[in-house]
């Protein structure tokens, strides 16, 4: 076993670059999904709105403007190999410094308050929410997801019975989108977590949103479930700006994890069409 040293400064700078990228360059798979919708949509206001979203992505990239003014609260998923030793700081500090630097340099909105009741702005868009998993090896993998709260506010959890089947799972997804209606900027992406404990499940639902939209689950029973959820939710016919039309949901992404014999925790983390994330391996 050999220790691999990584400077905290490298982590900070990587986080900074990823946050700026995520906020200004729309993920290629998301942009492609919107372009596909645009091609399929019949002429009218809904098609014009989809056209505006495609223009928005172009303008954001060209002018280094935020894709959406809600540059969100940042969630960071880190997987670090046990052979890695961080020098000159700790991971969490490095992450927060990187986020603060990105939001200053990128002129992004400072949307984080220190106390949920007192509501004083932290002025730095930190703290970020940091999830760290330690595995074997010597790699450090980072994914950042700045997520706005329009969609976050419509996300939901439920503790299903262990005997619950896919019908209940699909139903909860449909209900979640029905409650959101046109309010959280459809077309949506659904991140679905199944299993774990209450908090693990919720974080898994958000992590699910990292997967490219054109990649189905590698597990056949989940790929089928993703398809069923997408079909059923699209029957709501909410559409872009709630104007009806070809699509309410761009994709449903399901991730699972081991859980207790007495339960089936479920979480739906709803994303708007401006699904933003960026990742790197150090």
């Amino acid at each position: 076993m050999r220790t691999r040293y990584i400077d905290a400064e490298i982590i900070k700078n990587t986080i900074k670059d990823l946050c700026i990228q995520a906020n200004t360059i729309l993920r290629p798979d998301v942009l492609e999904a919107i372009k596909e919708l645009y091609r399929r949509e019949s002429d009218g206001f809904a098609k014009n709105m989809l056209g505006a979203l495609i223009q928005n992505a172009d303008i954001a990239r060209r002018d280094e403007l935020a894709l959406c003014q809600d540059t969100g609260m940042v969630t960071v998923f880190i997987t670090v190999g046990g052979d890695v030793f961080i020098r000159g700081g700790n991971i969490t500090e490095a992450v927060n410094e990187g986020v603060a630097a990105a939001y200053e340099e990128g002129h992004f909105r400072k949307s984080v308050v220190a106390d949920p009741l007192l509501r004083g702005n932290t002025g730095t868009n930190t703290p970020a929410i940091v999830h760290i998993d330690v595995i074997g090896g010597d790699k450090l993998m980072i994914a950042v997801m700045p997520k706005g709260f329009g969609s976050e506010n419509k996300s939901r959890t439920i503790m299903l019975n262990p005997t619950a089947g896919s019908d209940e799972i699909v139903e909860f997804c449909v209900e979640t989108v029905k409650l959101a209606g046109p309010d959280a900027c459809p077309p949506y992406v659904l991140g679905v977590g199944l299993g774990g404990t209450m908090e693990q499940c919720a974080s898994l639902a958000k992590k699910a949103l990292l997967r490219p939209l054109n990649i189905a689950s590698s597990k056949p029973h989940l790929a089928e479930l993703e398809d069923r959820i997408k079909k059923k939710v699209n029957e709501l016919k909410i559409g872009v700006m709630g104007l009806g039309g070809a699509s309410t949901v761009l994709a449903a992404v399901v991730e699972t994890t081991p859980t207790h014999i007495a339960g089936l925790p479920m979480a739906v983390n709803l994303s708007c069409h401006a699904l933003r994330s960026a990742s790197a391996v150090i």
């Binding site: 505006a52 979203l53 303008i59 403007l65 992004f108 400072k110 702005n121 309010d183």
Partner: protein, 175 residues
Amino acid sequence: MKKINTPLMENVIADLKAGDEVLLSGVIFTARDQAHLKLCELIGQNEDLPVNIAGQVIYYCGPTPSADRVIGSCGPTTSSRMDPFTPPLLKKGVKGMIGKGRRSSGARDAIVREKAIYFAAPAGAGAYLNGKVTSCEVVAFPDLGPEAMHKLTVKDFPLIVVIDAFGNDIYARFN
């Protein structure tokens, strides 16, 4: 596509129907959660407001800042959070609101009662809308940072009428 200007005259408002697409030019004022809370507190205490909102259009928006442009990314935020504060603001003379998503029946009733109007701006297209803003200055509650009230001048700001002055609502099918 109708072109309309602020201040919105009552006859212009009366001519607009839910579902109409319009291009708005003129002055609008941003205000979201905390500014609405403060404005309604002042109204409740019979105090003067820092901005004369009578006849004006409120835009539910907390923009990103910018070093070299008048404003950064500036799309709408979810309107329903401002529903509880809407009746007193409309009573105080606000004539138009721009945001995204549904309104409550209370907000809709106030719109009809006060002959106001509610528009949606393209949602999640803050960089695209940046190009429609020609000036921006903070005019109230600067301590609120992005939640401060900004006076914006806009040119051909694309909107759709969601709720007209007669209570027609393009999102009625979701209720």
